[in-house]
Symmetry: C2
Subunit: 206 residues, 2 copies
């Protein structure tokens, strides 16, 4: 899991490999994807892929880290706005659901970790948790400066907020009927919204 | 899953079977328990067990329903108190964690459902959700009568409260390090408490 790429890859080549691998992992998951398949998708030999990467886990890790940074970049745009926390946080959860639809590997990390207990999933999941917590912290700190919220332990509240989003999502991903009805996103948005309202009411300065 | 006992069982006999089966299921789970083992634990022949029950799922169902009613009975005692909702709800979550330590089959239902996708787990889990929601509804209704909380959609809030407790618990049960450190209960109580505080602050009449 801590193995890294063996030889430095030219950025363009790396970007192409990650794009192709991202699609395959998103469709079939880490377990059901092989190095040969990624090589085939790229139209290169397996050997040439192994030249750069020791194993598929190493590629997977890079794909997820890329998805994390795409996610954070998009989310930081929301932070940059000058709107009140009530509307920023709602924008945040709205976008969170939509992004996970495109960043499938990232969106499934927790679910996969839960099922496979693979240390790689767990460590990537933890990393993402910390990044998301930082975003929410900044958001709460900005709101505090503008006196929109009460005096709270911002670190603790940010961590708990992200934790609940994660648990709600994990639970929903395990509900077969939501997949069958195609109502996963709708359900999750409702739950996120309900929670965000409770969360905001509990910290708002009134 | 909808098969019921074949022949009416004398209550004393049933109670003994369920006690014994409850222990075995708690220790080994439904999948790793056989009718022969339950019969052995009871010191009776397998045939005599099959005389009353078509399969182990039928016994498991009865065990879980019994655990549900034990749980609800204990929880209703808390409801009967005349204390304010802030302290009743805290009592509730305190007891919830402790009870799941003794009502192991009930406490693992969601986790098992998540892993095995067995309709029996899902239906028993849903049943328990509805029962727990009713308890929280009564609690909120009592608080409303005493004017302790704002005007809210009590049904929706009760449902969401129970839902979050369940998702937090499911997530925690999947975290290997909590098992290893023996810190599951401590972690869950902390998370329940944090959530309950947010929940209460968002509905309290001030």
């Amino acid at each position: 899991m801590d193995k890294e790429e063996k030889t430095a890859i030219p950025p363009e080549k790396l970007s192409k490999i990650l794009d192709v691998a991202q699609k395959r992992f998103a469709r079939f998951g880490l377990a059901k994807t092989t190095m040969s398949e990624i090589a085939d998708d790229l139209g290169v030999s397996k050997a040439s892929l192994y030249y750069y990467f020791p194993d598929k886990e190493c590629i997977f890790k890079k794909v997820v880290v890329k998805e994390q940074s795409d996610f954070c970049q998009q989310m930081k745009k929301i932070l940059a706005s000058d709107k009140k926390i009530t509307s920023t946080l709602k924008d945040y959860i709205e976008n969170r659901t939509s992004y996970f639809k495109t960043l499938i590997n990232l969106g499934h990390l927790n679910y996969d970790a839960f099922h496979a207990q693979k240390p790689l999933y767990a460590s990537l999941g933890k990393e993402f948790y910390e990044k998301e917590k930082e975003i929410i912290k900044t958001l709460l700190q900005n709101a505090k400066k503008r006196n929109e919220i009460k005096k709270i332990d911002i670190d603790e509240y940010a961590g708990f907020f992200v934790h609940v989003l994660r648990t709600l999502r994990l639970y929903a991903l395990g509900r077969k009927e939501l997949w069958e009805q195609g109502s996963m996103d709708k359900e999750l948005k409702q739950e996120y919204t309900f929670f965000t309202n409770i969360f905001l009411k509990s910290i708002e300065n009134i």
